[in-house]
């Protein structure tokens, strides 16, 4: 299984990332997930979310998760990009790609990785209030 993890302050360009996908004849399904910062947090309007991380541990925990996903499902490739720093409303903070022979495992693995990430990968967010 191909596995890529990137934790970066650079903006996420989902279409450029999608274009860089490598391809094998056993692949039948590609699922992409983009997590985008929404305009409110607990009912209050926000301008952005400021993400921080324990980067070394976040990379290690992502790596464990992706390896575990590769044991649970027959995946060809998993790529994850998480942005840090100030991410404005409407911009993606998370991009993920799962490639597999059939769609069921791509969907299942993608959701599982996101759910587990929110449990174990040390990344935190601080809402930046909208200017009044």
């Amino acid at each position: 299984m191909k596995l890529e993890i990137l934790i970066t302050t650079d903006a996420i360009d989902g279409s450029a990332l999608a274009a860089s996908r490598s391809s094998g004849p056993g692949m039948g399904a590609v699922v992409h997930f983009l997590g985008v910062v929404r305009g409110s947090e607990e009912g209050a309007p926000i301008a952005a979310i400021d993400y921080t991380a324990f980067v070394q541990m976040a990379e290690a925990q992502f790596h464990k998760l992706l390896e575990e996903a590769g044991r649970r499902w027959p995946l060809e490739s998993v790529r994850v990009v998480h942005r840090l720093g100030v991410v404005r409303v409407g911009e993606p903070s998370l991009w993920m790609e799962v490639v597999s022979p059939h769609r069921a495992e791509a969907f299942d693995a993608c959701r599982w990785i996101i759910d587990e990430m929110k449990r174990v990968v040390p990344i935190w967010k601080r809402p930046v209030p909208a200017a009044s």
Partner: protein, 81 residues
């Protein structure tokens, strides 16, 4: 031995510092280290029930026995995505 404890996210604000050094004997359980940490930083102690603990880059429970070279991290529930 000296163990460096790092406080992540708003735990650094509550501690008033990003990290601290603590003297403990080799083989001290994490739980005992945490008691020292909470004596120095009582505002962190108030959140002990929701605190996550890592040694190096792995999660560890309170019974983990600290070894020379271990670094400890304390942080609140994670919120990525």
């Amino acid at each position: 031995m000296t163990v460096e404890v790092t406080f992540w996210s708003y735990f650094a604000d509550l501690a008033g510092t990003g990290s601290g050094k603590f003297e403990v004997p080799v083989g001290t359980p994490v739980d005992e280290l945490l008691r020292s940490v909470y004596r120095s930083h009582p505002r962190l102690g108030a959140l002990r029930n929701s605190t996550l603990v890592a040694v190096g880059v792995e999660y560890q429970g309170g019974s983990y026995l600290l070894q020379p070279g271990d670094s400890v991290s304390l942080f609140p529930p994670v919120q990525g995505g």
